[in-house]
Assembly symmetry: C2
Homo-oligomer: 390 residues x 2
């Protein structure tokens, strides 16, 4: 007598993490320099030195008692103030701390937001390719996840398909840009058109349709490409942010939810998000990390190494004939496989100790995802293997 | 269009945290030495110095990249091994790392366990007085919480009431010992009788009835009183542990779930717990804290200061005529109020800047909870106020 859905979520594990664990085991056998592991989005750059310094300063200045005590559930006021100021400086917004809720990373934050929005038969839209964990998050929250087919080959958004998918039950649409797994950044034009469409449909159905912006990759954009701050384009936007990638803190579970007060039902929705988080066991985000963010919210990553990897891998694969989505952001490359059977391609690659994730895991068969947060040497050494797989 | 239940959970906030926030605001006005705040279980002892040292060593030895990376979802193997060894040394068990799942504190762990157990119409039993957050945790998991009336005045367990409450829908019973809010430790005899009752009822209904042991206070016991390790008494026990109180890390959200493999459906239940956690957005417990636990799982708190407070407050109140449950553990005192209207008593106390939590919040009207993790000076200064309230 136990919950069968939970059992299946535990048994049918995240394909990415299974592959990554295979890679770790394989490294033990053949040596770490001989496994080309492009599976998991674990940043390869260490956190900026200011982070380590901040930890030491906090322990010194505050002492262990204050540094590790409970904060309020929405989070330390200084941390929320620092985040609001950073956003306001960058986007000309006037966000206040009371619109921010510190969470344990984007995954936990998305779960709370989905739950806060859930009503019977409520539907959430995800745009393929999409982060596969949206499925268990939506299911646990009591929402149905509907998938919008991919906009091949540019991986923007098929607005016609979004329009067709919206019903009276649509609660919101998940926007993940820069995108995991495609590495594509949605353009301002794409987002403006999406916003106009959602406004029109919201009016038609007489209730808001929220954008839920899943934004761990906001800071990871290259060549000066713009990553629009969606709440400035579409007011009914809830942002779930994480410092996992931007400050290389993936294991530490720290981020924030921004629920604008001037979104439709904004204040009630913030309360519902807090209540949903409470019901999932949120007490507060890890306190030491809140105090680190209070001091480091303005830090931005140095992308030099990722950019070098990106260019070498993108140009290398493109020049040998692979079709690759234009990778303006995040640290992923989404590559069309020859013959269009991505699972088979991954198996053949695995035989050469090259580990990539099939696009099937992201609702987009025929592609594989490469996470290029690896050493430059690995990029150089993997290219001949990719050539042999063509 | 948002989730009304989540909204209510956010709006109808935890009474304890509201009172604690009132206390914080009040301290700003009248000075911190003039507010006698016995509301929140925030340890007043700092984490042991080994914790700060471990953080510094980890950052030095592992470097920021490794220290802050994702671990596997169940947690770092070295941390789980250290926990298993510590438990085995103390209780003569043979727990293995694969029976342990590192979680973000007991609250998140209870939520995952409740969800893993939830089946339609499934019921969980809680014994009054009980931690009020069990209600939203159970509700979010899809379980019904049924409350067993308190065993006044000793606050052990009314086995007759447990027996009457068990139905074919009973999934488990939550056992929190040392108890919040009563400070009472359930005796070995109480737990053995409970185990025998549950075994009998499980056989009667043809399915397991689990004990869910909520154990943040395991290490906080005084005068050498025994805190039995429940899995050695009743095999169908799932333990949710937290280092919040024992290592004074309440804000950091680190603990573990122990699902014995030889519990009924033990292996499947572990998988369901992992799946439930995944569906609530668990990626891993905060990684730096996992590595701290790998080095510090054997540390035990120095209870000298709590014990001094406990004795002074218990004896002081008892001698002036209050009826107080025998406080063998945790850092709470549960006090019967004169006239039996606890809400009124709390209001009158509040006028004197003495903050205590009404037992109504714990399913036990007529009592108030005092958290004595405060300075000894506060204990001394509050006693005349208690006398004036008699």
């Amino acid at each position: 007598m136990y919950n069968q859905t939970a059992y299946e979520m535990g048994d049918n594990r995240c394909a990415i993490r299974e592959l990554a664990e295979y890679g770790a085991a394989r490294r033990q056998i053949v040596g770490k320099e001989n496994v080309y592991d492009f599976t998991i989005g674990n940043p390869s750059l260490p956190a900026p030195p200011e982070i380590t310094q901040a930890i030491q300063d906090i322990l010194q200045d505050m002492g262990a008692l204050a540094a590790h005590s409970y904060t309020s559930a929405p989070g330390d006021l200084a941390a929320r103030t620092a985040i609001a100021e950073d956003l306001n400086n960058r986007y000309g917004t006037s966000i206040t701390p009371k619109e921010l809720f510190l969470g344990c990373g984007a995954s936990a934050e998305l779960c709370a937001v989905f739950r806060a929005l859930a009503v019977p038969n409520g539907e959430l839209l995800a745009i393929a390719p999409y982060f596969s964990e949206y499925e268990p998050f939506a299911q646990s929250a009591g929402c149905v996840l509907k998938v919008i087919p991919p906009d091949v080959p540019n991986f923007q958004i098929r607005l016609d398909a979004v329009e067709n998918a919206i019903t009276e039950n649509t609660l919101g649409i998940i926007i993940n840009s820069p995108n995991n797994p495609s590495g594509v950044v949605y353009t301002r034009s794409t987002l403006e058109q999406l916003g106009a469409l959602l406004s029109r449909k919201a009016e038609q159905y007489g209730h808001p349709i929220y954008i839920i912006a899943d934004e761990p990759y906001r800071e990871l954009a290259y060549d000066g490409v713009e990553v629009p701050f969606i709440p400035t384009i579409y007011k009914d936007t809830i942002v779930c942010y994480s410092y996992s990638k931007s400050l290389s803190l993936p294991g530490e579970r720290i981020g924030y939810i921004y629920v604008p007060r001037d979104a439709t039902d904004g204040e009630a929705l913030y309360t519902a998000v807090a209540g949903a988080a409470r019901g999932y066991g949120h007490i507060c985000a890890p306190s030491l990390w809140q105090y680190v963010i209070a001091r480091c919210a303005h830090l931005k990553p140095d992308l030099t190494e990722y950019d070098r990897n990106r260019k070498a891998l993108y140009e290398g694969l493109r020049d040998m004939g692979y079709e690759v989505a234009k990778p303006d952001g995040a640290f992923y490359l989404f590559v069309k496989v020859p013959g269009s059977d991505a699972e088979l391609f991954c198996k053949r690659a695995m035989e050469k100790d090259l580990l990539v994730v099939p696009g099937d895991s992201f609702g987009c068969p025929g592609y594989v995802r490469l996470c290029y947060c690896v050493s430059y040497e690995q990029i150089e050494k993997c290219l001949p293997i990719f050539r042999s797989l063509l």
